[in-house]
Amino acid sequence: MSLYEEQKKLVLARLRTLNPEAKMMSGKNKAVSVKELIKHVEEDDIFGKKIVEAQIKMLQVLTGVN
């Protein structure tokens, strides 16, 4: 399994612990729910890949790596 695949698995596991209806808003007036975030990550689209990157960044901040 590649590093990215491992990161994706970790991110999906974390996202699945969240309230699926909780929403992230964007300046483009597009609210995206946790359920939709999971779908983007599962489908490996551009947005999903960026979500993986952001979640890993968050974990790095939490662990003091970055």
Partner: protein, 216 residues
């Protein structure tokens, strides 16, 4: 000598209502400072015509743009483009902070090529977390509070004359502090980890183009 500051802050839909709310503390800080004169293009005043008039009249050194945007435009009231590559030359010599999606990606780079000193903004969409029961009163939305805080940190640093590069560095520190707070807090509703994720997203895409020593 009084320093000239201009801000645009439309308020006509859900996203601009939040961004407008985020700008309130910055406007209050500018009004409290006797050394700063603020030109506030709020709500329906955030139009292309009023913006160009105000830029020419008050010749601000610092400009905050709040509103919808994409890689090539920042908008005012009702999605009216107020800064594009065609008029960005008006902002020559100024420091720009755009709380607008994606505008740093292209418009910010073009702005600097056309003489803007520094352009602070986001390469991707700016994101925040909402409490669905509070969307009609963004000021009371606790989920949005950390995003309001980082906007204030960045805005206040720029307003107080901290150079653009240092302002970004201090804002990144604040993002990280908030991520640590939210990433480790107990939250029965599950919103805190999502807030941490959105803060992390914004941290990744905050940046600037131009002269990092540019200061107001």
């Amino acid at each position: 000598m009084v320093k000239q500051f201009l801000i645009t802050r439309p308020n006509y839909d859900k996203a601009t209502a939040y961004i407008h709310a985020f700008s309130k503390d910055i406007v209050a800080a500018a009004k409290e400072d006797a050394g700063i004169h603020i030109t506030d293009l709020e709500g329906t005043k955030a139009t292309d015509l009023d913006f160009e008039k105000a830029i020419k009249k008050s010749r601000p050194k610092l400009v905050f743009l709040n509103g919808h945007g994409d890689e090539t435009v920042v908008c005012g009231h009702n999605d009216e483009p107020i800064v594009t590559e065609h008029n960005v030359g008006l902002l020559k010599g100024k420091i720009i902070y755009a709380l607008a999606c994606e505008s740093l990606a292209k418009l910010g780079r073009i702005a600097v090529e056309k003489g803007v000193k520094a352009y602070v903004g986001y390469e991707e969409e700016f994101r925040w977390v909402i409490d669905p029961s509070r969307t009609s009163t963004p000021d009371k939305d606790k989920n949005a509070a950390p995003f309001r805080k980082v906007c204030l940190v960045l805005g206040k640093n720029l307003l107080s004359g901290v150079p653009a590069g240092k302002s970004i560095e201090l804002t990144r520190k604040e993002y990280k502090r908030l991520i640590k707070n939210y990433g480790t807090s107990e939250d029965n509703y599950g919103d805190a980890p999502l807030i941490g994720l959105a803060l992390s997203w914004d941290l990744m895409f905050l940046g600037f183009a131009g002269d990092k020593t540019a200061a107001f």
